[in-house]
């Protein structure tokens, strides 16, 4: 079984995001970029499936700017076998919407015929939490989102999902799309030798036109602004003072 893992290049989760003063977006020039943290978890899971003999090949895919090559090299260094880069924009500030990404991924899935697609639950830049579900819809496949445990057995995967009330287990017929949550695993770091090896692994470059997909956005960004900020308040010197303050303010 082949496993496809879509990985997105996003601003590193440790970077303090700065909104551009002209309201056009967030500053991404000269900012540290990394693989979306959820996608690292997805890559890790795919590699573990391969190590367990349940997957035969792990293919990482990224849609975006050419620099997403680095993200794919990271996936290859972690253990993915090959990569596909779909260059869909020249401008690092142009985000490709989940619907367009899902259409490209669906076209790739039709070519590659994976038995499983492992997506992240959410990209930490646009916070959409949509691509995996959209991809499953376009392929007519089943989906299991927000996975914290995945067991692949024959033609099905049993998935424990993190939901509002706790956990839900579902079984989904393969091929399927599974989106992964934070507690599924702890992604490995790529070792130096593996980083070197990754440079020689195949990385194919494509464009949306190769798949006949129009990536024009459906949502026009009118404005991006800073959220209202909070100010630091007062520091109490003791529990008693804190209680007095809270009572005085009518908070408790």
């Amino acid at each position: 079984m082949k496993v496809l893992v879509p990985v997105k290049r996003v601003i590193d989760y440790n970077v303090k995001v700065r909104v551009r003063s002209d309201g056009t977006g967030v500053d991404l020039a000269n900012v540290k970029m990394s693989m979306n943290p959820f996608d690292e978890i997805a890559v890790e899971e795919a590699i573990r499936l391969k190590e367990a003999g349940l997957a035969s090949e792990v293919v990482a895919v990224s849609v975006g700017v050419r620099q997403a090559q680095e993200t794919l090299r990271t996936a290859l260094a972690m253990g993915a076998d090959r990569a596909i880069l779909v260059v869909a924009s020249e401008d690092v500030h142009q985000d490709i919407e989940p619907l367009a990404v899902a259409k490209i991924l669906a076209a790739i899935a039709k070519e590659e015929q994976p038995g499983l697609i492992l997506c992240g639950k959410q990209a930490i830049d646009n916070d959409m939490n949509a691509t995996g579900q959209m991809l499953a819809a376009l392929l007519g496949w089943g989906q299991a989102t927000f996975a914290s445990e995945i067991k692949v057995e024959g033609e099905t995967a049993t998935v424990v999902r993190e939901v509002d009330g706790g956990l839900q287990a579902v079984s989904v017929r393969l091929p399927a799309v599974i989106t992964v949550d934070l507690r599924l695993n702890e992604p490995r770091y790529a070792s130096l030798p593996n980083i070197m090896k990754a440079k020689k692994k195949p990385l194919e470059e494509k464009t949306p036109a190769d798949y006949g997909v129009d990536v024009a956005p459906r949502l026009r960004v009118i404005e991006t602004r800073e959220p209202p900020s909070r100010k630091a308040g007062v520091i109490a010197k003791s529990v008693d003072e804190l209680v007095d303050m809270l009572k005085g303010a009518g908070v408790v």
């Binding site: 009330g165 579902v170 630091a232 809270l246 908070v251």
Partner: protein, 306 residues
């Protein structure tokens, strides 16, 4: 303009608070038809929400566990009669609505915090570090509503209930089991007071300190990701960018450093109180009231004095 609103239905019936808050948001867009996938009792309760014009009830067993594939098929079948398909931004809705949107060939707009007009919406991006206003050119707008910013529509309505068309289960996935813990405490996303613990709590047993203070305040209990990852607290307590978003009157953070991903889930709380032994912890930059102290001493004392 006509809105199809997917009600929040849990194993206990209608999620009234989430649904009623989404009704408030949806009413700005047009007449609201609520779709209840679940038992009749949930539909009867939804019908009492003021501002609901009609309730559609789908009692099919295939929908009982809110599996995405049959649920999305039903919503897609109903969608042509509507300009908007909306739902409160619950885990269920986030599972189903993007699937609906793709089947309709439209974008989904997740976690809407404000509605400017019928096609213009505001939503947070980058863990709430920026707010973006987007305008949709799609024929049907599919959105999830972040309920924390909307007041619940009151009870007092009496909308008619009609049966929704039947669904056929595509059989792509199967429900196995729910592992849901019951608690007598208020629900996290609708509680007026939330007390949360972080890695500083140190152990599962340590969380009793958090729970005791919560019980004293009639509060729901929350946690940071670090506390959940470490197994101190269950996953459904996680507050933050990728957990639950809360905006209670009072949020108490105990042993939580205040990472941006945590703040994303609670910084719209009316009053924030933080107890942390590190005076430099970023949580103090957003807290209205802070106390630099060892929580193992301070929290029991606080619980006693309140």
């Amino acid at each position: 303009m006509a809105v199809l609103l997917i009600a929040d239905v849990t194993n206990d019936g209608l999620g009234f608070d989430a649904t009623a808050k989404a009704v408030t948001a949806a009413r700005a867009l047009g007449d609201v038809t609520v779709l209840v996938m679940g038992p009749r009792a949930a539909a009867e309760e939804a019908a009492t929400i003021e501002g609901v014009a009609k309730v559609l009830l789908a009692e099919d067993a295939a929908l009982g566990h809110r599996l995405a594939e049959p649920a999305a098929d039903l919503v897609v079948a109903l969608a042509p009669g509507f300009t908007h398909v909306v739902a409160p931004a619950t885990a269920d809705a986030k599972n189903i609505l993007p699937r609906v949107a793709a089947l309709l060939d439209v974008m989904v707009i997740s976690d809407v915090t404000a509605i400017r007009d019928a096609e213009t919406f505001e939503r947070p991006i980058y863990a709430g570090n920026a707010l973006q206003t987007v305008q949709s050119s799609d024929r049907i707008k599919v959105l999830t509503i972040r309920t924390a910013g909307f007041d619940a529509a009151p009870r007092g309505g009496s909308a008619p209930i009609e049966a929704a068309p039947g669904v056929s289960d595509p059989g792509l996935s199967q429900w196995v089991e729910d592992r849901v813990a019951k608690s007598g405490r208020p629900e996290l996303t609708s509680a007026r007071v939330v007390v949360s613990g972080g890695r500083g709590i140190g152990s599962k047993e340590g969380f009793q300190i958090v729970e005791k203070l919560a019980d004293r305040l009639g509060a729901a209990v929350g946690a940071s990701r670090a506390a959940v990852d470490a197994g101190y607290a269950p996953n459904d307590w996680q507050v933050g960018q990728t957990g639950k978003v809360v905006a209670p009157d009072l949020y108490v953070a105990l042993g939580i450093s205040g990472a941006i991903q945590h703040l994303a889930g609670m910084k719209d709380s009316k009053t924030i109180v933080a107890i942390n032994k590190d005076p430099e912890a970023p949580i103090f930059q957003v807290a209205d009231y802070g106390l630099v102290a060892d929580l193992f001493e301070a929290v029991p004392a606080l619980t006693e004095k309140l």
